[in-house]
């Protein structure tokens, strides 16, 4: 896994293919012009970045980046919040705390130099909406579910493991059917065999109250592979991220 993420020197007139889950990306360099072409397969593929013949597709994106002979391949988290559902609906008693694990699909960023980059999702996620029809926010909907047993979630290189601790500080049981998780303040860290993010602690204070979200420190403390999309604020309040809206 560590062989793919990071900086890769790229001689001119070379084409290499990144296979990352369903995502396949061809990268070609000719002088100061970089070209990227991608496709999605139906099944999983190996995780590698190898020399390859360019595909016959003409749907290439071209980037002109002078004096750039290397590309950095960086894992990023989704650019929108994700809706996470437990594998089975669960009621969390007042005062109780429960730990869930979810593997978040990553975006692959190809960075050319300092300010030029192109991102592609390793998995194409379905769009969703969190909120009322009059007000809310666009999200992605995860097909995989959050589970309490970490061992039951298979590790794959194109997903980052995120631990979610849910505390119910309300007087009523929390009906946990879904959680809107913002990923913009989470960084991506290298784990032993897979990617990981900062753990998150969410504190529920009641259906009509905001949710208190705390981004915890990643353990062990290591430099991240990719910084968060937004500067991390350790504590933040959001609208009730557990709320079920009536359409």
């Amino acid at each position: 896994m560590s062989e793919v993420w990071g900086l890769h020197t790229f001689p001119s007139n070379l084409c290499r293919k990144l296979s990352c889950g369903p995502l396949q990306v061809w990268l070609h360099r000719k002088g100061d012009e970089w070209s990227i072409c991608h496709a999605y397969t139906t099944g999983d593929s190996v995780f590698e970045f190898e020399a390859s013949a360019p595909p016959k597709s003409t749907d290439w994106s071209r980037w002109l980046v002078p004096a750039c002979e290397a590309v950095a391949i960086i894992p990023q988290l989704p650019d929108l919040p994700v809706i996470v559902r437990p594998d089975k609906p669960l009621f969390v008693s007042p005062g109780a705390t429960v730990q869930f694990w979810v593997r978040l699909p990553i975006w692959v960023r190809f960075q050319f130099g300092k300010n030029t980059y192109h991102e592609l999702p390793a998995l194409r996620l379905s769009q969703s909406w969190f909120g009322d029809p009059t007000e809310g926010m666009a999200c992605y909907s995860l097909r995989t579910t959050a589970r309490r047993d970490l061992g039951s979630i298979p590790a794959v290189p194109y997903r980052a493991l995120c631990g979610i601790e849910i505390q119910n500080r309300a007087d009523e049981p929390l009906d946990f059917q879904r959680l809107c998780l913002s990923t913009r303040q989470l960084a991506v860290f290298p784990g032993k065999t897979h990617l990981e993010t900062n753990p998150v602690r969410t504190t529920h204070h009641g259906d009509s109250e905001r949710t208190f979200i705390e981004i915890l420190e990643h353990k062990p403390i290591t430099p991240p592979l990719a910084e968060a999309r937004e500067p991390q604020t350790r504590f933040s309040h959001h609208m009730n991220v557990f709320r079920r809206f009536q359409w």
Binding site: I83, S126, Q127, W129, F130, P133, E135, G136, A138, S141
Partner: protein, 300 residues
Amino acid sequence: MTIAEHMKQQAAALLGSEWLGASVRTLILVALAVPIIRYISGAAYRFAKGRMTEQGRMLLRKAISYGGATLLLALVLNNLGFKLGAFLGTAGIVGVAIGFASQTSLSNMISGVFMIGEKSFAVGDLIQVGQWTGTVMSIDLLSVRLRTLDNRLVRVPNEALLKDCMVNITHFPIRRWDLTIGVAYKEDLARVIAVLREVADANHFCLDEPEPLVQFLKFGDSACEILFAVWFQKQHFLDLRETLLTEVKERFDRDGIEIPFPHRTLYAGSATEPFPVRVVGSEGGADRQESNLMSSPDKS
């Protein structure tokens, strides 16, 4: 006195008059004030970027322009020797007359003020007024300007907007697209509904939540009609329309689900067989045969 000497005398009188001096001062005043007013209104418009809505910025610019023009007019009149007090007094009387004559314009102006306060639409929104659908380009004193989807300019008086129903298509962030799809009576409706849910699930522009609504609507004349309603973000409507209908058709073709043409079956009555109709021949007289219609047997 010759004509030349007479003209010399007139010119000398003119050059020495106060009126000429005032005119020159007025011209200088106008020449300086107009660019200054334009610069200030433009600077205020740029300064307000990010701090106000587009509509607010336009109003600010117009308020500065009109206010500056009014002030300039007063200065010009004062410079030319007109007594503003008497002028305003006269204007009051004239104003009443003008008011009666310009009722429509005044109504439009007042309607515009109410509309702006109501905030039912803003610059950039796609609205439908009567027969016209277009993007709001500006909300002016007397009218609202729309740019239609085929790039025509429509000017809608504010009074008409206030009186009639107006539909703001892009006011809310998400919308629902309702499709009625007819399938043949012989189809298994549960299977069709399941197929439509799968199509919506696979389409990237259909939102997972709110969930698509797929319901059997009614027994139509030629088909069973199913409501297929999907939610989408307002900026993805064209992408959705381009992909979803095609995906439904392809999936129906693949699964053998028939979308029937409108058709009629002729019956003489519930107790009789249908009329057999034989369509014969093609163009050409020698091969043409009479169509053969058999009536129901006489029961008496």
